[in-house]
């Protein structure tokens, strides 16, 4: 275990201490045997039999995932397959979506993420998120990055260093160092997205969730963000939703393929089809539906 320190620190999250870790040997879905944890793989998230409903309608069900530290995990699949929905489960973003309900079991470093004793604001301080559309606050570039650290009670005197460090890691510092007092909205789309990444990593999260972070960007900006992810992987665990299969193949270590199936009542419900090492999923998928999708036969 490489991240023992982090694990012990997380005990403070719930007063009752660490919950019993999920046994690795049994899962409810027999068609999806669990990945035996490889040597040195620290699991950050364990998702079991997840189901999300919006106002009573199931959006996605029967999802089992193990997400490991310092890896990039990609969620791919056609529109409406529930990949963004599952991503938003991981930082309890559904708490603020009216009508959304999460069922099943999700653990974060072995602790129940959805325990009533866990504070969702604390969860989101550790699990950051970058959104599909760049959404800088209508504040200065500096204040955008300083927003999160301020919430976390970091001192004003540290702020300049924190901001510079975060912007440097997001590969934006050189472009904005002379205009930190300008509005974040004055930047180009690609710069805005890197600003949002800087904003997310300025709070020193453990995980960064990215919801189609490049879908609003041109290929050059996309390439920059992909390079950036490779860098960030050393410090953070990254989960990325993308509808761009090449992107998943380029950047991710593991890929989860979701698809939408029509249920008995004629509604589209998302399902996890296959979750494997990216290379294997793209070259030798074990499910025919995965193969159909990655070879462009549907979706």
């Amino acid at each position: 275990m490489t991240m023992t320190e982090d694990t012990t620190a997380n005990v403070a999250l719930v007063t009752t201490g660490v919950e019993t870790p999920i046994p690795q040997v049994s899962t409810p879905d027999e068609s999806l045997p669990p990945e035996p944890p490889e040597e040195g793989r620290e699991l950050v998230f364990q998702v079991r039999d997840l189901e999300v409903r919006y106002s009573g309608h199931t959006a996605v069900r029967e999802v089992d995932l193990d997400i490991a530290a310092n890896e990039i995990t990609a969620f791919i699949g056609p529109s409406g397959c529930g990949k963004t929905t599952v991503l938003r489960v991981l930082n309890r973003m559904h708490d603020i979506t009216p009508g959304a309900k999460v069922f099943g079991r999700v653990t974060y470093h072995g602790e129940d993420l959805y325990s009533s004793k866990v504070d969702s604001a604390e969860v989101r301080r550790r699990i950051g998120m970058v959104f599909q559309k760049p959404n800088p606050f209508p504040k200065t570039i500096f204040d955008n990055v300083a927003y999160g650290p301020k919430i976390n009670g970091r001192k004003r005197s540290e702020m300049a260093d924190i901001v510079e460090h975060a912007l440097t890691r997001a590969a934006l510092w050189d472009e904005v160092k002379d205009k930190l007092k300008h509005s974040g909205l004055s930047l180009s789309g690609g710069q805005q997205q890197r600003l949002c990444i800087a904003r997310a990593i300025a709070v020193e999260p453990d995980v960064v969730l990215m919801d189609e972070p490049c879908s609003a960007l041109d290929p050059i900006a996309t390439a920059r963000i992909e390079d950036l992810m490779e860098e960030l992987k050393r410090e953070f665990t990254i989960v990325i939703v993308t509808h761009n299969m090449q992107q998943a193949a380029r950047v991710s270590d593991r890929t989860a393929f979701f698809t939408a199936e029509v249920d008995d009542e004629g509604r589209r419900v998302g399902r996890l089809v296959e979750f494997d090492v990216t290379e294997k999923l793209f070259t030798a998928p074990s499910d025919a539906r995965t193969e159909g999708y990655i070879t462009g036969r549907f979706g």
Partner: protein, 300 residues
């Protein structure tokens, strides 16, 4: 060989399509009518402003703005008590209505949402916007002035605040609704709680709209007459006290002096009218400037 030859069925770009002539004529006629309508709509506005300036400009000087009001028969300056009263009463009304109204709007959009209580309040605020101002004056007269036995500036301010509050509530509610959900999510995703998200992200984003809405409510209240006639009484000496003794306001003085048979008083009514228009104009311009300043700071 020429590289640029047209195919045999090419129709020249210069050949008009059938019916295009009629469309062009209709377009010109419609544009003309719209422009005409605009100028017709402008006539009363410009006429009122020009006439008030013409009648009132001679009155307007420093003495007019500060001196006590002379008796009706006398000529010469003096609207000081009314200027002071208008500023005092409108100011006090704003201090009550704007904070309460903004907080009410925040409750409606951020906490109440589509709940029953919020829907009832939203509906009542809408109804209150439609209550005639004279009714509001009568209400305050009955419940405040008749109890305190003496008209005063505070009673007038209460009546104006009742008129302003629904406007402020509704503008705030609507401006907050325009704040994109992505901004809120961005804040929540950094571990911010609801109250902090509202304070540091949502309110600043909506601030230009809220401020301009509030200042327009102030401008509207400054021009109200009916609720003040009931509630503040009348004086000819400046009274800066909010609670003690009767007061007066520009609008009330315009009403009283314009009805007077004496030319001196009538002249002062015109002067007061111009003063009031200027005050309202200043507030409107201020609203624009503040809005522009805040939006520029957020995006530049």
């Amino acid at each position: 060989m020429t590289a640029f030859s047209a195919p045999s069925d090419h129709r020249s770009l210069l050949t008009p399509r059938p019916g295009s002539r009629g469309r062009k004529i209709r377009s010109v006629v419609a544009s003309g009518l719209i422009t005409l309508a605009f100028f017709v709509a402008l006539v009363p506005l410009v006429a009122v402003v020009l006439y008030v300036i013409q009648q009132g400009a001679d009155q307007l000087n420093w003495a007019f703005l500060t001196d006590p009001i002379p008796i009706d028969r006398a000529f010469g300056p003096g609207m000081g008590p009314a200027v002071a009263g208008t500023l005092l009463i409108t100011g006090a009304a704003s201090m009550m209505a704007i904070p309460l109204g903004v907080l009410g709007g925040i409750y409606l959009n951020e906490y109440g949402g589509r709940g029953v209580l919020a829907r009832v309040i939203r509906f009542l605020a809408e109804v209150m916007t439609g209550v005639p101002s004279v009714v509001m004056g009568l209400f305050i007269y009955t419940f405040v002035v008749l109890q305190t036995k003496e008209p005063n500036a505070f009673a007038g301010a209460l009546a104006l605040a009742c008129l302003m509050m629904p406007i402020v509530i509704r503008t705030t509610d609507e401006m907050l609704r325009l704040v994109p959900g992505e901004l809120r999510e961005g804040s929540y995703a950094l571990g911010s709680r609801k109250s902090r998200t509202i304070r540091t992200v949502v309110l600043p984003s909506a601030a230009p709209g809220i401020i301009s809405g509030a200042l327009l409510a102030v401008a509207r209240a400054a021009g109200e007459t009916a609720p003040l006639i009931f509630t503040i009484g009348i004086v000819s000496e400046t009274n800066w006290s909010l609670f003690n003794g009767p007061n007066t306001a520009l609008s009330a003085q315009i009403y009283r002096n314009a009805l007077s048979p004496f030319p001196g008083a009538q002249e002062r009514a015109w002067g007061a009218a111009l003063t009031l228009i200027l005050i309202v104009f200043i507030f409107t311009v201020l609203a624009r400037l503040v809005t522009a300043f805040f939006s520029r700071r957020q995006t530049a």
